[in-house]
Amino acid sequence: MKKVYSRPRSLKETHFHYCPGCGHAIVNRLLAEVVDEMDLRDTAICVAPAGCGMLVYNYFDIDTLESAHGRGAAVATGIKRVRPENLVFSYQGDGDLAAIGTAESFHAANRGELITVIFVNNGVYGMTGGQMAPTTVIDQVTTTTPGGRASDQAGHPVRMCEVLAVLDGTSYLERVAVNKPAAIVAAKKAIIKAFQHQLNRTGFSMVEVLSPCPTNWKMGPIEACKWIDDVMTKHFPLGVVKEVKC
């Protein structure tokens, strides 16, 4: 018989440190697959975040820099401007991209930096133990919203794709999920598309991935996937939010 699925070449053998059922793991694999399929291993440079994705350099067999919390887009800008021929992407969580990194994400997008941001939206700060993120939905219980997120005290879930869509520098913004097979297939396509936008120099591209964090949601992995459909997508509708001609 023929091997029809095996480990992508750009993924090192190292075991993931992620929790059971964590969406980060799926996104990591998809990225490696895309890098393989688009033959980008030689030129890709990844910027890793602070957050549960911070160890991606242990997994990706491509050049990787770990950046300070939230500064992924600024660091990626520095790299890309020096090496315009390389594919540069930053990998960031929701706390990283949409809280502390708001300004850097926003302005890299506004400048139309030719980078791609892989934005893993799991609605919490995973790494630090499940605090509220900018994307935490209303009434969601986290360790810093013990009574559920109340919008008058703690604000509203931030839709970054929709925010960045207002900026002229952005060329491709899509929200996907990794909670079921069809969604994962779509997520991979979105990553390919985003990389193509970068390669074609159309502008700033970002793929926002709704991603289960069973641990901090205090759910089983299957339940977490269901919660994405039932609750998260209500606040964060899936689909292409912006696309200019590529």
Binding site: H17, Y18, C19, P20, C52, L55, G126, M127, T215
Partner: protein, 179 residues
């Protein structure tokens, strides 16, 4: 006398709460005590461990390089912490899943089949309390009677419904050890 114990196992096995329960009891007994959890990168599901130091005097360091006791609820913890144990120290092993064939010669293994024992009570969730019961019997750090008498205070109001179950588990472990 300063007695230090490392409780270790998988994230889900309740090792931190074993340590916490011991530490709280010792505190209520009026002893000096420190409880020090250790976190790894492995966000969940990796090995977790904590160190509890109990003493009649002020405690210098909550970290134990050469603990008197180790409780190892899984294989990796057994491998990692048996080497730290003081010569002559006791290592409590969850024998339901830990293979102790390669043990240092100068330490003593106490094998407790926690899963099997806990299942007698109908839930594997109290396996940690079973182990704690056994541990207290042999370590003698705190008074078992004091603990069972004050269990609701020790475990906190919230868990009062589970007091009975926990008490049963502690006793099961305690009695499992033949003196």
């Amino acid at each position: 006398m300063l007695i230090r114990t490392i409780f270790s196992g998988f994230g889900g096995q309740g090792v931190l709460s074993m340590g916490y329960t011991l530490a709280t009891t010792a505190m209520l007994e009026g002893k000096h005590v420190t409880y020090f959890p250790s976190y790894g990168v492995e966000v969940r599901g990796g090995t977790a461990n904590c160190t509890v130091a109990v003493s009649d005097e002020e405690i210098a360091s909550p970290v134990a390089s050469e603990p008197e006791f180790v409780v190892a609820m899984n294989q990796p913890s057994f491998a990692r912490f048996q080497s730290l144990l003081q010569s002559g120290g006791l290592i409590f092993v969850n024998s339901s899943i830990v293979d102790v064939s390669s043990t240092r010669g100068d330490i003593e293994v106490v094998a407790v089949p926690t899963s099997e024992l806990a299942e007698k009570l109908g839930t594997i969730k109290v396996a940690n309390m079973v182990m704690l019961g056994a541990f207290i019997r042999l370590s003698n750090i705190i008074s078992f009677d004091f603990m069972t008498t004050n269990l609701s205070q020790i475990l906190g109001e919230g868990k009062s419904k589970l007091i009975k179950m926990n008490k049963d588990a502690l006793e099961l472990g305690f009695n499992y050890i033949k003196e």
